[in-house]
C-alpha cells in the first residue's frame, strides 16, 4: 500500500509541477471557454436580435390607402420604405383580406451577401412571427372575430454583395467557395503556427539556440530565416492539401451525382457561377502567403515566449492556434458575424481579402491584403524584439528585469 501511495504521490507531483500540464488543465480550458463563449454570444446575438426584438425593418405597402397596413407598420416599429436590409412588403389588399379572414400575403425581401447566413434566417422567422402576432392583436382589438386572420409570408432574397446584385446561383457559388477558402486557411493556419512554434522548441530543447545567438548573425536575419523555413513547409502543406483535395474531387467527380448532374458538372457550374478566375486566384494566393507569414511569426513568437521544448511548442501552438482562428471558425459555422475586434486576429485580414475578391470587390480585397502585410510586418518586429538570448535562456521572466539582451 505504501508503495502504491508513493507511486501515486510521484505521479501527482510530476503532473502538477509540470507547467504545460497546468496550462492544459487550468489556463487552456479557460481560454477555450472564452472562444466558445465568444461564438455562443455571436450566435445568441444573431438569434436574439431578430427573435425578441425585430431587426431594423422597412415596411413597403403596395396599397398606399391601406390603413391597416400602416397601423401594422407602426406596431412593428417599421419605417415606411421599400429600401433596406429587411423589407416587409404587404401585398395589395392586405388589410381588407385580413379583415375578411382571407389569406393576406406578405413578402420579406432580405438583401444579404450570404445565402446561408444563420442570422438572416432567424431574422426572417422573427419578422414572420411578429407580423402574425401584430395581425392577430389588431384583429382582436377591432373585433374581427371570425375567422382568425391568416397571414402568409413568402421569403425572397436579394443577393446584394458590395453593391452588386447577384443571382441566387451565383451567390450560393460564391458562398460555397468562401467556406472552402475559410476551411483551407484554417487548416493552414493551424499547421503553420504549430511548425513555427516547434522550430523554436527544437532549437531550445536541443540547446542550439544558445549557440546561434553567438554566431555573427543579425537577429532580424534569424527571425526572417526561421519564418521563411516555416512558410516553405506551409507551401508544401498547401500542395499536399490540394493534392488530397484533388484526389477526393477526382473520386467524387467520377462516382457521385449531385442533383441529377455529375459532380464534375456541379463543380464547373459553381466555379462558373462565381466567376472564379485568375484575379481571385492571385489575390487568394497572396492572402495565403501573408497568412502563412503571420501564422509562422505568431508560432515563433509564442514559441520564444513559452515553448522550452517540443512538447511546450505543441501545447502552446494548439491553444494559440485555436484562439486566433476564431473568425474563420465563425465563418465556417455560417454565422457570418463580423466585428472590428476581428482585426485583432491575424487570420482575419487575409481571409477578408480572399472573400472580397470572390465578391469581385478587388479594391477592398487589396486593401485587406495590405492590412495583412502590415500585420505580418508588426509580427516580424515583435519577433525580432523577443528573439533574444535572455528570453531563450531564462524565459519570460527575464523580460521583467532591467535590460534585455
Amino acid at each position: 500500500m505504501n508503495k502504491l501511495l508513493a507511486l501515486l504521490r510521484r505521479e501527482l507531483l510530476s503532473l502538477f509541477r509540470d507547467r504545460y500540464v497546468i496550462f492544459s488543465i487550468i489556463v487552456a480550458p479557460f481560454l477555450s471557454m472564452l472562444l466558445i463563449g465568444g461564438i455562443t454570444v455571436a450566435m445568441l446575438a444573431g438569434v436574439e436580435d431578430n427573435g425578441n426584438s425585430l431587426p431594423e425593418l422597412s415596411l413597403c405597402v403596395q396599397d398606399a390607402g391601406d390603413e391597416v397596413a400602416r397601423e401594422l407598420a407602426s406596431r412593428l416599429g417599421a419605417r415606411m420604405s421599400c429600401e433596406g436590409r429587411y423589407v416587409l412588403t404587404l401585398r395589395e389588399g392586405f388589410g381588407e383580406r385580413l379583415r375578411t379572414g382571407e389569406r393576406a400575403e406578405a413578402v420579406v425581401l432580405v438583401s444579404t451577401d450570404n445565402p446561408l447566413s444563420l442570422p438572416d434566417q432567424t431574422a426572417v422567422a422573427a419578422i414572420s412571427s411578429a407580423l402574425q402576432a401584430a395581425s392577430l392583436q389588431l384583429a382582436i382589438e377591432r373585433g374581427w372575430t371570425t375567422p382568425p386572420p391568416k397571414v402568409s409570408v413568402e421569403l425572397q432574397k436579394k443577393y446584394l454583395v458590395k453593391g452588386k446584385v447577384m443571382e441566387e446561383g451565383e451567390a450560393l457559388a460564391v458562398a460555397s467557395l468562401q467556406y472552402a477558402v475559410a476551411l483551407l486557411f484554417l487548416i493552414l493556419h493551424f499547421i503553420t503556427i504549430q511548425v513555427g512554434a516547434i522550430s523554436v522548441g527544437i532549437d531550445k530543447e536541443a540547446r542550439i539556440a544558445e549557440s546561434v545567438f553567438t554566431y555573427p548573425l543579425r537577429r532580424r536575419d534569424l527571425v526572417l530565416a526561421k519564418a521563411a523555413g516555416v512558410i516553405a513547409t506551409s507551401i508544401v502543406a498547401l500542395t499536399s492539401f490540394t493534392a488530397g483535395l484533388a484526389f477526393v474531387y477526382a473520386f467524387l467527380l467520377a462516382h457521385v451525382e449531385v442533383g441529377g448532374r455529375s459532380a464534375a458538372e456541379e463543380v464547373s457550374r459553381i466555379l462558373a457561377e462565381a466567376s472564379f478566375g485568375a484575379p481571385q486566384l492571385l489575390i487568394s494566393f497572396a492572402a495565403f502567403l501573408f497568412l502563412a507569414l503571420s501564422s509562422s511569426l505568431l508560432g515563433t513568437f509564442f514559441g520564444y515566449l513559452f515553448a522550452s521544448d517540443i512538447r511546450g511548442a505543441l501545447v502552446t501552438s494548439s491553444y494559440v492556434g485555436l484562439i486566433t482562428a476564431a473568425p474563420a471558425l465563425l465563418d465556417i459555422m455560417l454565422l457570418s458575424a463580423s466585428t472590428p475586434l476581428f482585426y485583432l486576429f491575424p487570420i482575419y485580414p487575409p481571409l477578408q481579402s480572399s472573400k472580397l475578391s470572390l465578391y469581385g470587390a478587388y479594391g477592398e480585397g487589396l486593401l485587406s491584403l495590405l492590412l495583412a502585410a502590415l500585420y505580418a510586418a508588426v509580427l516580424f518586429l515583435l519577433n525580432a524584439w523577443i528573439a533574444r538570448p535572455s528570453v531563450v535562456l531564462y524565459g519570460l521572466g527575464s523580460m521583467l528585469r532591467r535590460r534585455l539582451y
Partner: protein
C-alpha cells in the same frame, strides 16, 4: 593587450548568488581555465562574456567593446555546455553552415580538424555525444576565431578523444595567438592545457594563478587536491 577584460562582475538569479565580483583577463596565446564545483558560476561567467547575459554589476570588455556588441561575434566562437546540433544536417553540412555564417574556413578544413572522416556524411542525430563535441570544437577551430570560449568541451569524451581535443585547443591558442577561455571539471586536463586557472566556488573567485604556482602555494601534488581544499 587583453582580448577579454571582466572586472568585478556580479550576477544574481533571484535570491541565488551566481557570481560575486569576479574578474578575469584573457590575453592572446593564453588559455584561461575556469574550474569549480557544479553551480560555481562558470557557465554564467562565460555567458556574460559572450553577451548572452547581462551582469548586475561590473564591466566586461571584449576586444575593447561592450560584450553584447554584435560586431564582435565574428571574432569569437562559443561552445556552450551540452550544445546540440541542428537535426537533419550531416556533419559536413554543419561545417559548411558554420563556415558560411563566419565567412571563413571550409568544411574540408573542419573535417580534418574533427577527425571524423566518413562519419561526416551521416546525419548529426546519429552521432554519439563525443562525436558531437568533436564536430562542434572542430567547427570553432575551423573559423579561426581570436577568442574561443569553451564550456566543458571534453565532457562525454573518451580519454583518447579528450587528449586529441585538448592538444588541438592548446596548440591553436599558441599558433593563432588566440585567447581561449575554458571551463572544465577535469583537473588533469586543466593542469595540462591552461596557462592560468581561476577557481570559482559559490560565485566567488577563491583562487587564481598559473597551475604550478597554485599547486606550490597549496603544497598540493596536483590541482585535484587544490580543488578539494578550496571547495570546502
Amino acid at each position: 593587450m587583453a582580448l577579454v577584460e571582466a572586472k568585478g562582475v556580479s550576477k544574481r538569479f533571484g535570491s541565488v548568488r551566481a557570481l560575486e565580483r569576479v574578474s578575469l583577463t584573457a590575453a592572446p596565446s593564453r588559455v584561461v581555465c575556469l574550474v569549480g564545483p557544479n553551480g560555481a558560476g562558470k557557465t554564467t561567467l562565460l555567458r556574460i562574456i559572450m553577451g548572452l547575459l547581462e551582469p548586475d554589476e561590473g564591466e566586461v570588455r571584449v576586444f575593447g567593446r561592450e560584450s553584447w556588441d554584435e560586431s564582435l561575434r565574428s571574432r569569437a566562437y562559443y561552445l556552450p555546455q551540452e550544445a546540440g546540433l541542428p537535426k537533419g544536417l550531416t556533419g559536413r553540412e554543419f561545417l559548411s553552415f558554420i563556415a558560411s555564417v563566419y565567412g571563413r574556413g571550409s568544411a574540408d578544413r573542419g573535417a580534418e580538424l574533427s577527425g571524423l572522416g566518413k562519419e561526416l556524411d551521416r546525419r548529426v542525430e546519429t552521432y554519439s555525444v563525443g562525436m558531437k563535441r568533436r564536430l562542434l570544437v572542430a567547427a570553432g577551430l575551423m573559423v579561426e576565431p581570436e577568442l574561443l570560449v569553451l564550456d566543458e568541451p571534453t565532457a562525454g569524451l573518451d580519454v583518447s578523444h579528450s587528449l586529441f581535443l585538448r592538444d588541438a585547443i592548446a596548440s591553436y591558442a599558441k599558433e593563432k595567438s588566440a585567447a581561449v577561455i575554458y571551463a572544465s571539471h577535469n583537473m588533469l586536463e586543466v593542469q595540462y592545457v591552461c596557462d592560468e586557472v581561476l577557481f570559482l566556488h559559490k560565485g566567488l573567485l577563491v583562487e587564481a594563478g598559473a597551475p604550478q604556482e597554485i599547486m606550490e602555494k597549496h603544497r598540493a601534488k596536483n590541482l585535484e587536491e587544490v580543488f578539494v581544499r578550496v571547495a570546502k
